[in-house]
């Protein structure tokens, strides 16, 4: 097959294929800061916190001093509802993600209708995502996840992913009856996992077909991260459908004309 991608695009694509993820410095820091400001504003408003001399990083990293684990999920949902009322938020998210999406996904995209937020308080086990692949839970393999940290994430404050070269191991594990829970699978693949080390100002894009997840955050700071799925408009959808989950955001004119086209009728 011909490949007219530039050397840079080929290099990035290979990195993604080999590692299962990419971490890139964000070019559009203005959009990133605007996006984080929206979240912090809502956080301060919902929890009636007065802005003091703390930096944005400090405010988010110390969330566990203001929120109890019992109230965390409701707090998280409130923030998700509030930020998704803001029509600019998805535009900012797309602008941040665009340089890398253009290379590994394409330029005629559907985007998740609502951006997700994950908050991991230190030592809290109430909002963990056990090892999983999104495709095992009904996502289309044609989707990809853009994961945006709002604070520096490292070790257990971050997430893990199984590298592609170890994926065959998972296939074998599924064939063995004794690995009948996600915890048993996690223990079996634990030594092969890559722990994502990413800073605020960087963006992670990963292959959601690969097993990933998180564990109890044993660091002394709270993790805040956003995640959102993108896919080509005309690639297959699975359980997450167009309309209810995905919305086309960059439909091109030829496609728009084509989906409205009908052949002339013959008598």
């Amino acid at each position: 097959m011909s490949n007219f991608l530039s050397d840079y695009e080929v290099k990035i694509s290979r990195q993604f294929e080999d590692k299962g993820f990419l971490i890139k410095d964000i070019e559009d820091l203005h959009s990133l800061n605007k996006l984080r400001d929206v979240l912090i504003k809502n956080h301060l408003k919902i929890n009636k916190i007065k802005k003091n001399t703390s930096t944005n990083e400090e405010i988010l990293n110390s969330t566990h001093k203001k929120i109890r684990p019992n109230n965390l999920n409701q707090f998280r949902l409130n923030i998700i509802n509030e930020i998704n009322k803001n029509k600019d938020i998805r535009v900012l998210y797309y602008k941040i993600s665009k340089p890398i999406l253009d290379i590994i996904l394409g330029n005629e995209l559907s985007m998740q209708s609502r951006i997700n937020l994950s908050i991991q308080l230190p030592m809290d086990n109430s909002s963990l995502l056990p090892v999983h692949s999104d495709v095992w839970s009904g996502d289309s393999p044609f989707e990809t996840v853009v994961w945006l940290p709002l604070v520096d994430c490292y070790k257990t404050k971050s997430m893990f992913i199984l590298p592609p070269k170890k994926y065959n191991k998972i296939k074998k594990i599924f064939l063995e009856k004794k690995f009948n829970s996600s915890d048993k699978i996690f223990k079996k693949i634990k030594k092969d996992l890559i722990w994502i080390d990413i800073k605020f100002g960087q963006v992670l894009i990963f292959n959601q077909c690969l097993p990933h997840g998180n564990v109890v955050n044993k660091e002394n700071q709270t993790r805040w991260s956003l995640n959102c799925r993108f896919k080509s408009i005309f690639s297959p959808y699975r359980d997450k459908k167009i309309g209810e989950f995905f919305e086309p955001i960059t439909l091109r004119k030829i496609s728009e004309l084509a989906i409205n086209y009908s052949l002339p009728k013959l008598k």
Binding site: S113, F234, S235, R238, K241, G243, I259, N260
Partner: protein, 137 residues
């Protein structure tokens, strides 16, 4: 008081079947979140392509704020009939909401957005996901 009538389906649409009581739960939840006063749902006839009930609801929409359908993909699959129904709603200055997709049609721009979603859905439904992965699973 923003009174709205619910609209649900008694047959599959785009290969999906949702129990009527689940459709009503979603419609009621949508109404609560959007401060709409939910009146009883009307259920479309199960005969293929029937749009008798949605027609009836639109004809009787004058005393309502609008209609809350479970899904936009329950609108008539015939483009002309679908447009006719949406046009009628707009001419009467009413709104049709779609609870599952959290969308609405209250003007021409929103109507055009719904049409685009319909068209993409129709095209993408022709790609058989299971056939692509048949030999790979």
């Amino acid at each position: 008081m923003k009174n709205v009538r619910g609209y649900n389906f008694s047959r599959p649409f785009f290969g999906e079947r949702v129990p009527q009581h689940v459709q009503n739960i979603v419609i009621k939840d949508f109404c609560n979140k959007n401060k709409l006063n939910f009146l009883l749902s009307a259920t479309e006839y199960s005969m293929k392509e029937s749009s008798h009930i949605i027609n009836e609801l639109v004809n009787d929409i004058d005393n309502l704020f609008g209609i809350v359908a479970y899904s936009l993909f329950q609108l008539p699959s015939d483009k002309k009939i679908r447009k006719k129904i949406l046009n009628k709603i707009l001419i009467k200055r009413k709104i049709i909401f779609f609870a599952c997709e959290n969308l609405q049609v209250s003007n021409r721009i929103e109507m055009s957005k719904i049409e685009t979603l319909w068209n993409i859905k129709e095209v993408s439904e022709r790609i058989n996901y299971d056939r692509i992965y048949k030999n790979k699973i």
